[in-house]
């Protein structure tokens, strides 16, 4: 091994540990935040007994889950029942590795450790565990693997409610995976690359993609809610219908794993939304941070990334405690009859717009290009949210054509 490779390896291991630790700690704090936020929305106080302001509540919960008895149903499939929490947990954790969380850090060292040899690193270190050239394709691929954990958990529990939860999860996640994938194609059209680093670099020079690609952002966010099984799309859990859905039979740490997976998934979707549509770690209207370098820049951009992600996490929780759960057929109808169509039409419209603006009109100023796409999106958003949104998106509980013997009155 060359000293340079060893230096790279050392930094990668450190980054891995830091990201893994940060994600796990944030998951713990998010569970507390969720409970606090729900309490505030309901004019309550929330957990405040363990530690100052309830800060030690996650630690207490964790301890409890470690010490609790684990129950396995007698007729469950023991191998799959044990494997399923890990299968839900691992993909959720994996995804945190491919999202850049700060500007590159210029870090130089050259030292020798006895037995291990010389470690050398020169120049900028990208603040991302694995700067994959396939970028968000990797995220789409791995996040769909997460559905296996849920389906297998539902099936191996040998419980009809769990089974239904698992089935719903597979149907829902597969459906919204499509809309999510399609909603990212306009991003690809605009940035010309799938790598997160390139997408952020493109957004730094021009506008954040949320404005020129607003409908993409909308579809992505809604699909994100569905992918993470958060309300209003928590069909797989649906405690009022399915007890607790796929994890009804799980207890102690195995249950905790599903919980951590859900929150890690939330973090990933929030971080992806930020990276793809809100400039990632970019601090808006400034250029000094764009190339990275000193520790101050890294810290400032990291803070920008964390605060943007935090905003979306709060939005996730806020929506959860506001909107009621969809009916199952409405979820499917929204996914297949609206989201996918919207994303597909949007691809065509944006492709045409990009062709017209950049080839025919030949605009080169990124702000002008962004502004023209934004104007187009305002029109499209008006069409979708005001004209189309007249009870046409989701069908009501009554079939359009009354069944025989049904008298329609109005």
């Amino acid at each position: 091994m060359t000293p340079e490779f060893k230096g790279f390896l050392l930094l990668s291991v450190v980054k891995m540990l830091v990201v893994f630790g940060v994600v796990l700690v944030s998951v713990a704090l998010l569970t507390l935040l969720e409970r606090k936020l729900s309490a505030w929305i309901q004019n309550r106080i929330g957990p405040n007994r363990a530690g100052p302001g309830g800060l030690l509540q996650p630690a207490a919960d964790g301890l409890k889950n470690m010490l609790k008895e684990e129950v396995m149903p007698a007729k469950a499939n023991p191998v799959l029942f044990t494997m399923a929490p890990a299968m839900a947990f691992i993909p959720a954790m994996l995804l945190s590795g491919v999202i850049p969380f700060a500007a590159p850090w210029a870090i130089n060292f050259d030292f020798t450790v006895p037995l291990l040899g010389r470690f050398v690193h020169q120049g900028l270190m990208p603040m991302i565990v694995a700067d994959l050239p396939v970028g968000f394709l990797f995220v789409l691929a791995i996040s769909s693997v997460g559905v296996y954990g849920i389906v297998i958990a539902g099936w191996s529990s040998n419980n009809k409610y769990s089974m239904l939860g698992g089935l719903r999860a597979s149907a829902q996640m597969v459906s919204y995976e499509l809309a999510m994938g399609l909603s990212l194609i306009p991003v690809l059209l605009l940035s010309g690359n799938v790598s997160f680093t390139t997408i952020i670099a493109e957004q730094q020079t021009g506008m954040w993609y949320v404005l020129p690609l607003f409908l993409s952002f909308f579809v992505f966010l809604v699909s994100g809610f569905a992918e993470t099984n958060r309300l209003p799309f928590d069909m797989p859990e649906a405690e009022s219908e399915l007890v607790a859905g796929y994890h009804a039979e799980y207890s102690a740490m195995k249950f905790s794993m599903f919980f951590i997976a859900e929150y890690a998934g939330m973090i990933t979707i929030a971080a992806m939304t930020v990276t793809l549509f809100f400039g990632g770690w970019d601090i808006p209207f400034t250029a000094w941070d764009n190339t990275g370098g000193s520790f101050v820049i890294v810290a400032a951009t990291g803070l920008a990334f964390v605060s943007k992600t935090f905003f979306f996490l709060v939005l996730f929780m806020w929506v959860r405690w506001t909107l009621p759960r969809f009916r199952y057929d409405q979820v499917m109808a929204l996914g297949w009859k609206f989201m996918i169509e919207l994303a597909t039409v949007y691809i065509v419209v944006m492709a045409l717009a990009i062709h017209v603006v950049e080839r025919v009109l030949g605009l080169t100023n990124p702000w002008m290009i962004g502004a023209s796409y934004t104007a187009l999106n305002v029109v499209l958003a008006y069409l979708v949210f005001v004209v189309l949104d007249r009870g046409l998106i989701i069908s009501g509980s009554v079939p359009r054509r009354p069944a025989a013997g049904v008298v329609e009155e109005g």
């Binding site: 004019n43 506001t322 949104d389 007249r390 009870g391 009155e409």
Partner: protein, 168 residues
């Protein structure tokens, strides 16, 4: 005749899911900023805006006369009327011929808190109390003896509303 179901036509042209969702979000956001209404019970016991009814029937209390003796004359009416059979009474008689309870025990686990004992008592001795904090570490502690019943200080139930004595 065919069974018909009356189906109201949905107002599809007036409703908007996006606007409804945003309206809901605005409402919950407003609630986030409002002060909480939680009363942190063991530390905080509000006397003003949350009181229990004067008709509340809680754990018992035996009233005493001026000399500190129980008012009970061991007539035996309360164990007789008690539907849960939770009162144990052994009557005694002193040298003046006055009856008094040798043993007077109430098993608060058996008690159904109907308040009949208070209603039937001719001496207004036994009462159900306006009281609700009864936790103990042992089951045996829930059998209240005479000494303990006399030591209670909480207010006693009125059993009926003084302003509406006939329960109308």
């Amino acid at each position: 005749m065919a069974i018909t179901v009356k189906v109201m036509k949905r107002p599809t042209n007036e409703i908007s899911y996006v606007r409804a969702a945003l309206k809901g979000m605005r409402l919950t956001f407003k609630h986030m900023l409002q002060p909480s209404v939680t009363m942190q019970y063991p530390e905080e016991k509000s006397q003003d805006d949350w009181t229990i009814s004067q008709r509340w029937r809680g754990t018992h209390r035996m009233l005493t006369d001026e000399e500190g003796r129980s008012k009970c004359v061991a007539c035996g009416l309360c164990p007789q009327i008690c539907p849960a059979n939770c009162i144990k009474l052994v009557p005694g008689e002193d040298e003046n011929g006055n009856r008094y309870p040798l043993i007077y025990e109430i098993d608060e686990f058996r008690c159904v808190f109907c308040g009949y004992c208070q209603e039937v008592c001719p001496e207004e001795a036994i009462h159900v109390g306006v009281h609700y904090e009864n936790a103990e570490y042992e089951r045996a502690r829930f059998v209240y003896d005479l000494e303990r019943l006399q030591a209670q200080t909480h207010p006693v139930s009125t059993l009926w509303d003084p302003s509406d004595p006939r329960g109308e």
